[in-house]
C-alpha cells in the first residue's frame, strides 16, 4: 500500500498543498480529480518518491521513503511506476523503450552481457500485449502516433510489474480509441494486483475506471470515497459544485 500522510509541498513561497493524506491500496484504482494547476502532478510525484515533501511522510508498505538511506529509497522508488502526460519515449525501438525499466534493475555485468545476442524479454511482450502493441516491438519510437506512444509509455511502466502505478493525465491528448485501450490497460493492471492512481480532469473517465475518487481542490482533498458515492451523493458542497460544473476555475 502506497500512502502519504500529512504531506505538505511548496514551491518557493507558494504552498501547493498542506497536510494532505491519501493512500492507494493494492489492486484498486484511485482517481484524483481536480482542475488544472491544483497539484495533481505534484501529488503523483510525491507518491512516486520523486519529490520530497516539506513535511509529512510517503510510505510504501509502511516504510517511510524519506527516512531510509538512498539505496533503500531507490529500491522503494523502483516498486512504483509513473507515467507522464507526455510519452517521453527514448530515441530507440519500442522494445528497447519498454525494456528500459527491466534493464536498469539488472547488474552492470548483465546489462553489458545482454547487449550481445539477446531477444525481447517475455515481460516486454506481455506489457505490449496489454496495450495492443505486441506486434510493434521493432518499430522506432519516432514512427508512432501520439496515442501509440502513450500506450508504449504505459507498457514501459507495466513491464517491471510495479506495486503501484501512477498515471498523470494519461489520455488527455488521445482519441477515443486510444483512450479506451489505456482504460482497459488500467483495468488489467488492477486485475494483476497493482494499485493504480490516475490523475485526471476528465470526470467521465474517473467514473468509468476508478474504484475510489479523491477530489483535489485549491486547499487540498475535499472528499474521498467510493466512485458512486462521490458522483451520486457527495457530502461536501464544493465537491458537488465541482462535479456539477458550477465551480469553475
Amino acid at each position: 500500500m502506497l500512502r502519504t500522510t500529512d504531506a505538505s509541498v511548496s514551491y518557493g513561497d507558494g504552498a501547493v498543498f498542506r497536510d494532505l493524506s491519501i493512500e492507494v491500496g493494492t489492486g484498486e484504482v484511485l482517481a484524483v480529480i481536480g482542475p488544472s494547476g491544483v497539484g495533481k502532478t505534484t501529488l503523483l510525484r510525491l507518491l512516486a518518491v520523486s519529490l520530497e515533501p516539506d513535511d509529512g511522510t510517503v510510505a510504501l508498505d509502511g516504510t517511510d521513503a524519506w527516512t531510509v538511506d538512498a539505496t533503500e529509497r531507490l529500491a522503494l522508488r523502483r516498486r512504483v511506476g509513473l507515467v507522464f502526460q507526455e510519452a517521453n519515449l527514448f530515441d530507440a525501438s519500442v522494445a528497447r523503450n519498454v525494456e528500459y525499466g527491466l534493464r536498469v534493475r539488472r547488474s552492470w555485468g548483465d546489462r553489458i552481457g545482454s547487449l550481445l545476442g539477446r531477444g525481447v524479454p517475455d515481460a516486454v511482450d506481455e506489457a505490449l500485449d496489454v496495450v495492443g502493441l505486441a506486434d510493434e516491438t521493432r518499430r522506432h519510437a519516432d514512427s508512432l502516433s501520439g496515442g501509440e506512444a502513450q500506450r508504449v509509455s504505459f507498457a514501459r511502466a507495466l513491464a517491471y510489474e510495479p506495486d503501484a502505478l501512477l498515471l498523470d493525465e494519461p489520455t488527455s491528448d488521445l482519441d477515443p480509441r486510444n483512450t479506451a485501450v489505456i482504460e482497459e490497460a488500467i483495468g488489467e493492471a488492477r486485475d494483476r494486483g497493482i494499485g493504480v492512481a490516475v490523475a485526471t480532469h476528465d470526470m467521465h473517465q474517473a467514473e468509468r475506471v476508478a474504484d475510489r475518487v479523491a477530489v483535489l481542490l485549491d486547499d487540498g482533498i475535499t472528499e474521498i470515497g467510493p466512485t458512486a458515492d462521490i458522483f451520486e451523493d457527495p457530502t461536501d458542497e464544493r465537491t458537488r459544485k465541482f462535479i456539477s460544473g458550477e465551480l469553475v476555475y
Binding site: G81, F84, A92, R156
Partner: protein, 240 residues
C-alpha cells in the same frame, strides 16, 4: 600487358611526375592523423563528462562557466602554442619530460584547442535533450547515472558532431603545431613533426607550389571527408 601492384606507386610517380619524394606525403598524412586523432580522443574523454556534469548540475555561476567554455572556442592557436612551448621547454614545468619538438607536444597543443569546441557543442547537445526524457529515465527506476547515460545517448548525434568539429579544428591547425612541433623531417625526408598544414606553409614559402597544392588537396579531401561524416550524422539525427 600486366602491371605489378607493387610497382603502382612508382608508376604513378613516373606517370604524373609528382613533385615530392616517395613516402613524404604519406608520412605527413600519418603524422597529421596521429596527432589530431590522439588529441581529439583525449579531448573527448575530458569534454564529454564535463559537458554532462555541467548540463546536469544546477549551481551558481553555471552561465559564467558556459561563457568561459564558449570563449575557449576562440583561443588564438599561436598563443596556445606559445604557452605549451613554455610548458615543455627546458625551463618549463614539463621540461624534464623532454617533449619539445615532439608529436606529444603537438598533441598537447591540439588537445587544448580541441577541448573547448567539443565541450561547448556537446554541452549544447546535452542541454537540447528534453527534460522529459531524463524524468522518464528516473521515473522508470534509473539512477542519476542511468539518466545521464540516456541523455548522452539521446544527444549522440550532437556529440558526434562535436567530436568531428574538434577534429576539423585540430587537423586544420597550423600555428601551435608549428611552434611546438618545429615542422621537422628526418634526414631521408620522412616527417617527424611535419603535418599537412605546416608542410603546406613550408612548401609555399620555398616556392614549391605544386607540392603545396597537392598537400592542400589532400588536406581539403580529409576535411571534406570529416564534414561529410558530420552531415551524415546530422541527417541521421534529424531523421531520428
Amino acid at each position: 600487358m600486366s602491371v605489378s601492384l607493387a610497382a603502382t606507386p612508382e608508376l604513378a610517380l613516373a606517370l604524373f611526375d609528382l613533385p615530392f619524394r616517395d613516402g613524404y606525403v604519406r608520412s605527413i598524412i600519418l603524422v597529421s592523423l596521429y596527432v589530431s586523432v590522439t588529441a581529439v580522443a583525449l579531448s573527448t574523454l575530458v569534454s564529454l563528462p564535463v559537458a554532462v556534469v555541467i548540463g546536469f548540475a544546477d549551481f551558481p555561476g553555471k552561465g559564467f562557466v558556459k561563457s568561459v567554455v564558449n570563449t575557449g572556442m576562440g583561443f588564438p592557436s599561436v598563443v596556445v602554442g606559445l604557452v605549451v612551448l613554455f610548458a615543455v621547454s627546458n625551463q618549463g614545468p614539463l621540461g624534464s619530460l623532454e617533449l619539445i619538438f615532439t608529436r606529444e607536444a603537438m598533441i598537447m597543443s591540439q588537445f587544448v584547442l580541441a577541448t573547448p569546441p567539443i565541450t561547448a557543442i556537446s554541452l549544447a547537445a546535452v542541454d537540447g535533450v528534453d527534460d522529459g526524457v531524463r524524468d522518464a529515465a528516473r521515473a522508470l527506476g534509473g539512477t542519476r547515472l542511468d539518466a545521464a547515460l540516456v541523455v548522452v545517448k539521446e544527444a549522440r548525434y550532437g556529440i558526434a558532431t562535436a567530436v568531428l568539429a574538434g577534429f576539423g579544428r585540430a587537423i586544420s591547425e597550423v600555428g601551435s603545431v608549428l611552434i611546438v612541433g618545429g615542422n621537422i623531417t628526418s634526414a631521408d625526408g620522412i616527417s617527424k613533426t611535419r603535418t599537412l598544414t605546416t608542410a603546406i606553409q613550408l612548401e609555399a614559402r620555398q616556392g614549391q607550389y605544386e607540392t603545396a597544392l597537392v598537400l592542400g588537396a589532400v588536406l581539403v579531401a580529409l576535411v571534406l571527408a570529416v564534414n561529410a561524416v558530420v552531415v551524415r550524422f546530422g541527417d541521421r539525427g534529424a531523421q531520428g
